[in-house]
Symmetry: C2
Subunit: 279 residues, 2 copies
């Protein structure tokens, strides 16, 4: 078993995630987007580490997340791992409490406060994140307002868990928060049960997750049709009807980036490393 701390494993999970290849539509060891390149993810991981350290030390999850995002954004490409950090902050907190289980992380996220929600909104001021318009009636809580939305959060007494639960049906990260991180833990077990180099396992579990459900980041940035197509074609790769590398090239060329699924893989790699995955 490695001597790495939870924070070291979280940082390594971010690095291994971007290394796995092919991960159709994502920056990986073999593919860049024009202004979002491999090295930006490395600097993002290194920069995020102090914030993740706060989570491991029992600091409030919202504050830890905001700090991690600010550090992540200390490179020239902007948003690299916002969603991954939103998963990792509570997962690292649960590991810091010695209970990295669905029940343990569920307790962490249900224990968040209005102050955590405020920190989450402030995090959007550090970096541009692609988001959809809020649902009818939620306009005052549009995350794009950043800290201007905090009075409304406070007026309604919304915790970070409440905010996430509100978006669980349209956002894959929020769905994990609301649902005991079920897909993350399941993917972690798939990584552990697999064989071979870790980046190859990350690539395989990415395809499995991609085929299993629509990527909500593609829904938001591209369209529901594009997301449905990506899901269908990921299944075709699993069925041996399409080539993963060709699909990867095509999605990058079409600027279709299933980033939420990559975030889930980062979370799963963290859990698997904590459970003994050997690099």
């Amino acid at each position: 078993m490695s001597d790495r701390t939870p924070v070291q494993n979280a940082e390594l999970a971010l690095l291994l995630e971007v290394t796995g290849t092919p991960k159709p539509g994502n920056v990986d060891r073999e593919r860049d987007f024009a202004d979002l390149r491999f090295e930006h993810f490395m600097a993002g991981a290194v920069g995020a580490r102090p914030g993740l350290g706060l989570a491991a030390d029992g600091e409030p999850v919202g504050r830890a997340f905001e700090h991690a995002v600010a550090g992540m954004a200390d490179q020239s490409a902007g948003n690299t791992q916002f969603g991954a950090l939103l998963l990792l902050a509570p997962l690292v907190a649960a590991a810091g409490e010695g209970d990295l289980t669905p029940a343990g992380v569920d307790r962490v996220v249900r224990g968040t406060t209005v102050a955590d929600a405020a920190a989450f909104y402030r995090a959007f001021e550090h970096v541009d994140v692609a988001v959809d318009d809020p649902p009818e009636g939620m306009e005052p809580l549009d995350v794009r307002h950043g800290s201007d939305a905090i009075p409304e959060l406070e007026a309604q007494g919304l915790t970070l868990f409440d905010v996430m639960a509100e978006s669980a049906d349209v956002d894959g990260i929020a769905a994990e928060w609301a649902g005991g991180f079920a897909r993350v833990f399941e993917a972690a077990e798939a990584l552990l049960a697999d064989d071979g180099p870790v980046p190859d396992r990350a690539s395989r579990v990415f395809l499995k997750l991609l085929a299993e459900d629509v990527d909500t980041f593609v829904v938001t940035r591209n369209s529901p049709d594009a997301a449905a197509e990506v899901q269908r074609r990921a299944q075709a790769v699993l069925d041996g009807e399409e080539d993963a590398t060709e699909l990867a090239e095509e999605l990058v060329a079409r600027d279709i980036n299933p980033g939420t699924t990559a975030d889930l893989v980062a979370g799963a790699l963290f859990v698997a490393l904590e459970r003994g995955l050997v690099v």
Copy 2:
């Protein structure tokens, strides 16, 4: 200017070094050896960080180095960045003292003690490092003895600087210690003066360093003839007579690994990041 600390920049330097491609003969973003792969360098960088933190905090360089090596070795491939850490430990210490200059790092290495030398010898017990037989009369100080050599170090009153100075003519890392880290600082300026993505700059400065002098790791692991050939062919790449990627493929296939030159690039990336190189 980035808010990264010296330790964060040192870790990022290790990550950017292995990302640069092509770096003929080395693991890089596009090439692995069979049992020494890209992900091992990532885990090595993450694991080395606490030891580098000791150097930044003013702890003795030898102890910081030994700790960094032990953390680096916490992955399944063994030695990934031993030489790079031997450069980074004093460079990070100099940065921690606010004087990351040839004079500053020279003061750090000349300030090392017998205890630092003992820690350096202990570091060889954490990992297998390819080394040559010691010169005539130096057999009791063969680094492969590990801590068994410590009584002899103490009897002779040898500091870590003394040990390095003794090997400066046969080891490229030791030569930096003995010579004010001249090649590291020169390569850092080349990185800063260059244009384009940082990994591309790392690749170019690697070729420049490789053409400039023989790689002592190739001398040790392969032969002086192989090292001379690598130097000559790196120059041919710079002259446009050979293709860098083809040379990279060939050297990996022949198991010729100019690791000392890669270590110099890691040191240079650290200095360049500290001086404002933007990722």
